[in-house]
Amino acid sequence: MATTEAPRTRGTTPAPTIFRRPASTEGFWGWVTTTDHKKIGIMYGYTAFVFFIIGGIEALLLRVQLAVPDNDFLSAAEYNAMFTMHATTMIFLFVMPMAAAFFNYLLPLMLGARDVAFPRMNAVSFWIFLFGSIFLTSSFFFATSGPPVGGSLPGGAEFASRLGSGPNGGWFGYAPNSLERFSTGTALDYWSIGLQVVGVSSLISAVNFIVTILNLRAPGMTLLRMPVFVWMTFVVAFLLLFSLPIIAVALFMIMFDRQFGTIFFDAAAGGDPVLWQHLFWLFGHPEVYILILPAMGLVSEVLPTFSRKPLFGYAAVVFAGAAIGFLGFGVWAHHMFASGITPVAQAAFGLATMTIAVPTGIKIFNWLGTMWGGKIRFSTPMLFAIGFVSLFVIGGLSGVTHSVVPSNWQQTDTYYIVGHFHYVLFGGAVFGLFAGLYYYFPMLTGRMFSEKLGKLHFWLMFIGMNLTFGPMHWLGMQGMPRRTWVWYAEQGLAFWNSVVTVGAFVIAASVAVFMVNWVVSKRRGPRTPFDPWDARTLEWMIPLPPPVYNWAKIPTVHTLDEFWHRKYDEDDDGRAVRRPDHHEVLVALEYEGRNPEAEIELPSPSYFPALVGLGIMFLAYGVIYLDSGFGFALVAIGAVAILGSFVGWSVEPVEEPHAHHDDHELLESGDHV
């Protein structure tokens, strides 16, 4: 108990202070001040989805530009800003926060807890993410981007157009191109500082999730009785914890090079540009697994439920996930096979990369084993989970072809790579996240989505995704380098490029179907019954949508797939048999879930997490304009907001005094560690 933020210790009346905790949990301020992990998860989800749309529009603009040779739909600066921000947005502002939405929403429900370990820190990580991503994206309104020093832009312009003034050094920001001499203007300052801010948010979450998983599990939930999704969250949290400091250091170095005249990466002054690559990919490769493991976790929840069988080889899937996370730190230089690293290093990193295929294969085969012998129901979440398995196999196999170093010399920096990682990140991560969104839609809303629209969404997205990213493999091997704003007719790539562009619009159509389904079903979908999927795990044992306190009574866990075993026995063949009291169990659970025996103590809302996030945004703007008084003023405002919040955070009362203040016995029922 000592590790939880102490809302549950009570009994003494807090001294009244000038800092009051917000009283209401309703309306706009209810959301701004909330410390409820479910509300925070929902805010993460919607914010991430907005950025999915923004990143998607960027992708469509890229594909329009590349549909025909020597196109002039976008200028060079605009194209470069689009591909930089498409990747930056999709990775840092969509997939990671969407995964965080699931972590936040589900973790306490799956663990049998009432919230995460540090509710206010949870809120602060959301607000820092929100304001950081607004800051990063605002570069399209405020940043400037000029030619390299000594070069000139078309028409003698000083800066590129508004759209062309977004960050344009690539999401990988290779030095020295990202240094001030080659990337003039403030665009890359927005990029480096924005990523820094968003990274802080993830780091805070990582610590919070690790502590939550280690300390807030319900009685009886040993580590090897945790749902696979929780395990994958656990691995991801450690990956974040160890990899984010590396990119933080690298981003500080590049920020110092740009803003304060250091020379870490400036070869002309004796710095080392390859050092940036090592630091970036030492973060960047674990990052790949940060993006994919949450989706693997979701799929590992969906497949057993819709196959009506336990996950095949639970322990193997868990350890394979941990192994992928571990090996992920030892393969970074496979992004640098063309950089002239020594042959010994090339061989070593090539072999290390191959080994990752082994745990990945174990996962795939276990998912197949889960479905084998089952009773497979093709609901929308299941379709997306199956799509994940199928597409991820393709991405995995093309990944193995990259580890063959001499082949990689041809493949690297071409569309072959673009095709590969979209199979992993779109076919993998995005399909997994959509599987999760559909699977948990009834929990989130208490209503059911339209299966018809869901299936239309799946098939459009599945076809669109293969049309878009499949031909990219051919394009790459047939001579289409990445990140080029135009290609030329002699490259002979017209057919596949037009197919790819059509495919991108099919994906866009599928997303539109999803949005319609979501909005309409959320309002008018049929009410879901308790336990709509006949699910297996703890989080479905509570009423839908979950009450604010999650658990009226903290459950005791006896086995993996606890919920299933309360509903089903096994006959002599090992076949599942519905228990005679099946119905009564469900009725009792729902009744119990809605009617807590005593008042339940929950973390109070607070103003300060949002204020910290806002302050950090001011600080970030201030650093960019530090050469003027305006910048200093922004830094001062930000610093006051942050430091003031820290003070308020420390001294605000644990809760406002209220009527039921002396229910000491609650300490027992609410204390579940």
Partner: protein
């Protein structure tokens, strides 16, 4: 279109798409097609790719086939009350599907490692060329012949050429896909890349290969291309002699005017023409390509424009940043007459 016609139309359209796609897969007319290997190294790399590709294809067919079979066989059937057996795993299977991939990967690892070491060292008898990357063009220096040139790398066909590469500004990446894979050009560092073309067929004087910068290097990365021209040994000897001579004297009035403009308009501050301004500048300090034998090259502006196009050079001279945003060659505000004169003079520099 009624329902039945539409039902027949859809598969037909699908079939048409699949057929045209298949036809496209075999097409090898792209100038940067890495499958169309034109030298022993690229051929070896492509061979390795196809080996791994077919192994991966076999795995793909097995796994996806297994998936489809599982989905079909174990789909939920109407009115089937039986629940599935709740088996939780099989240690034997876990071991099997751990070991089989390990064996396959080990088989792939052997030729991989062997080639890594094979192609990262130059043969003792290789010809050496230094390559310097610039935003956005490649510069070459032939140390054995003291020749500076740009964009087009002339090499003797069938001989190993060893490129020692570096960059004058940001990181670039030299990719001649028909001859070898990629290698970065990094400021402050030297990297090595081997190129070798097949010997030319009887009666063929030269073969041209396209090159593209493959590392994002700023605004005009897409306009950073180059060529490799493989010629016969005799052709190479002739080329060396030609390059080592000074620039020809202008012969027409227009060319004479062009030469004068080369000095007046500031061109000579950034470009060397031997016999004209090499007494005041040399290639280690200037920032534009050497122009002494400009017209001996077929392409210019990072090999993105063809000299055979009568208007391309005029278009370039009129406003370089429009073609290459960020260009270090500014819009010089030349009049149409001045552009004609420079065009004539530059085209005379054979």
């Amino acid at each position: 279109v009624n329902r039945r016609t539409r039902a027949r139309l859809l598969p037909l359209l699908g079939l048409a798409f699949v057929l045209s796609s298949c036809a496209q897969v075999g097409v090898r007319d792209g100038v940067l097609d890495s499958f169309d290997a034109r030298g022993p190294i690229a051929e070896d790399l492509a061979g390795l790719f196809w080996l791994v590709f077919w192994i991966a294809t076999a795995v793909f067919v097995l796994v996806q086939g297994g998936l489809l079979y599982t989905l079909f066989r174990f789909r939920e059937k109407r009115d089937d009350p039986a629940e599935p057996k709740q088996f939780e795993g099989s240690p034997v299977l876990e071991v099997i599907w751990t070991v089989i991939p390990v064996v396959i990967l080990a088989a792939i690892a052997v030729p991989t490692v062997e080639r890594v070491f094979k192609y990262t060292e130059c043969a003792p008898d290789a010809m050496h060329v230094n390559v310097i990357g610039h935003q956005w063009w490649f510069e070459y220096y032939y140390p054995d012949h003291d020749i500076w040139t740009a964009n087009e790398l002339v090499i003797p066909a069938g001989r190993e050429v060893c490129l020692t590469m570096t960059s004058g500004d940001v990181i670039h990446n030299y990719w001649a896909p028909k001859l070898n894979g990629k290698r970065y050009l990094i400021p402050g560092e030297d990297t090595l890349l081997l190129l070798e073309s097949f010997p030319l067929a009887e009666g063929v004087a030269s073969e041209e290969f396209h090159v593209h910068c493959a590392e994002f290097c700023g605004l005009s990365h897409a306009r950073m291309r180059a060529r490799v021209i493989a010629v016969t040994d005799a052709g190479f000897a002739d080329w060396v002699v030609g390059q080592q001579t000074d620039a020809v004297e202008p012969s027409t009035d227009l060319e004479v005017e062009g030469l004068a403009l080369f000095g007046e308009k500031g061109c000579s501050a950034c470009h060397v023409i031997r016999g004209v301004n090499d007494d005041v500048v040399d290639n280690t300090v200037v920032i534009g390509p050497e122009l002494t034998h400009f017209a001996s090259r077929g392409s210019f502006a990072g090999s993105t424009l063809e000299l055979s196009d009568p208007d391309a050079l005029r278009m370039w001279l009129a406003d370089p940043p429009t073609w290459k945003p960020g260009s270090f060659m500014p819009n010089l505000g030349l009049t149409a007459d001045e552009i004609d004169a420079l065009d004539a003079y530059l085209r005379s520099l054979r």
